[in-house]
């Protein structure tokens, strides 16, 4: 798979699928860079909460957060196999 630039400087949309692991490993892992990533993601997401200009700052943003939290808890419990519906436990 030929790529035009070295993998390091490409944006995510330009990276071909086979090169994805090497792209992820090439990102900066310094704490400063990681906090920068988290902040950028935070601001992009929080347009759902902060959309006063759009007039829609309603219940959608926070219910997305709560749904994600519920799913997170669902997948982090190992005793789920005990809670399957079966006749005898």
């Amino acid at each position: 798979m030929a790529s035009s630039l070295p993998v390091k400087e490409m944006k995510l949309m330009d990276v071909k699928l086979g090169e994805l692991p090497s792209w992820i490993l090439m990102r900066d892992f310094t704490p400063k860079a990681i906090t920068g990533e988290i902040q950028r993601g935070y601001y992009r997401y929080y347009k759902y909460l902060y959309a006063r200009a759009l007039g829609k700052g309603g219940i959608a943003g926070i219910s997305m957060v709560l749904a994600a939290y519920g799913l997170f808890n669902y997948y982090s419990y190992k005793e789920l196999k005990h809670e399957q519906l079966c006749k005898y436990h």
């Binding site: 909460l49 006063r52 519920g70 005990h82």
Partner: protein, 226 residues
């Protein structure tokens, strides 16, 4: 089934990592800080609620007691939000752990007692003896009042733990009973109704924070002012 009942109160680990710290810190995301003069709907609503609650709660304090405003408001927000988030399915409620509630109760109570002792020593020692007791009863009453003072932090912590834990356990039990009965009878309708009512009443776990902060606040008031 028995092991499963209490398994939801174990501190959650994901692949061996304790994520309980993440879960304790999660409610802080839900309260964004106001940045602008006119904020969005969520922040305005929260600001209004906080102002309402703080005015209600700090009205009985004098100047010295009102320095505790930030502490009390963050306490009520934290306990309220963690209790409410624990009502989501499969979520972990940190306030079911006695260790955490003791960690909240003992320092706060000790702070109020020590503040009272430092600034108004005679008045806070005088709390141990109610007015107008007959003289032969005095030693016994002093002992009783001392015991009731030292039991205050324990009562605060255990009250919160027991209420939340009992509510969660009841919901588990009744939900399990509903599922078991579903194949047999249609008295399910009655039991699901009981679950719904119980859940609504449990959603007044928020009222429990009210109880927590209120008792803390009453204690603070008594110690600072008399």
């Amino acid at each position: 089934m028995n092991e499963n009942l209490f398994a939801s109160f174990a501190t959650p680990t994901m692949m061996g990592l304790p994520i309980v710290i993440l879960i304790v810190m999660f409610p802080s995301i839900l309260f964004p800080s106001p940045n602008r003069l006119i904020n969005n709907r969520l922040i305005s609503l929260q600001q209004w609620l906080v102002q309402l609650t703080s005015k209600q709660m700090l009205a009985i304090h004098n100047h010295k007691g009102q320095t505790w405003a930030l502490m009390l408001m963050s306490l009520i927000l934290f306990i309220g939000s963690t209790n409410l988030l624990g009502l989501l399915p499969h979520s972990f409620t940190p306030t079911t752990q006695l260790s955490m509630n003791l960690g909240m109760a003992i320092p706060l109570w000790a702070g109020t007692v020590i503040t009272g002792f430092r600034h108004k020593t005679k008045a806070s020692l005088a709390h141990f003896l109610p007015q107008g007791t007959p003289i032969p009863l005095i030693p016994m009453l002093v002992i009783i009042e001392t015991i009731s003072l030292f039991i205050q932090p324990m009562a605060l912590a255990v009250r919160l733990t027991a209420n939340i834990t009992a509510g969660h356990l009841l919901m588990h039990l009744i939900g399990g009973a509903t599922l078991a009965l579903m194949n047999i009878t249609t008295s399910v309708a009655l039991i699901t109704f009981i679950i719904l009512i119980l859940l609504t009443i449990l959603e007044f776990a928020v009222a429990l924070i009210q109880a927590y902060v209120f008792t803390l606040l009453v204690s603070l008031y008594l110690h600072d002012n008399t």
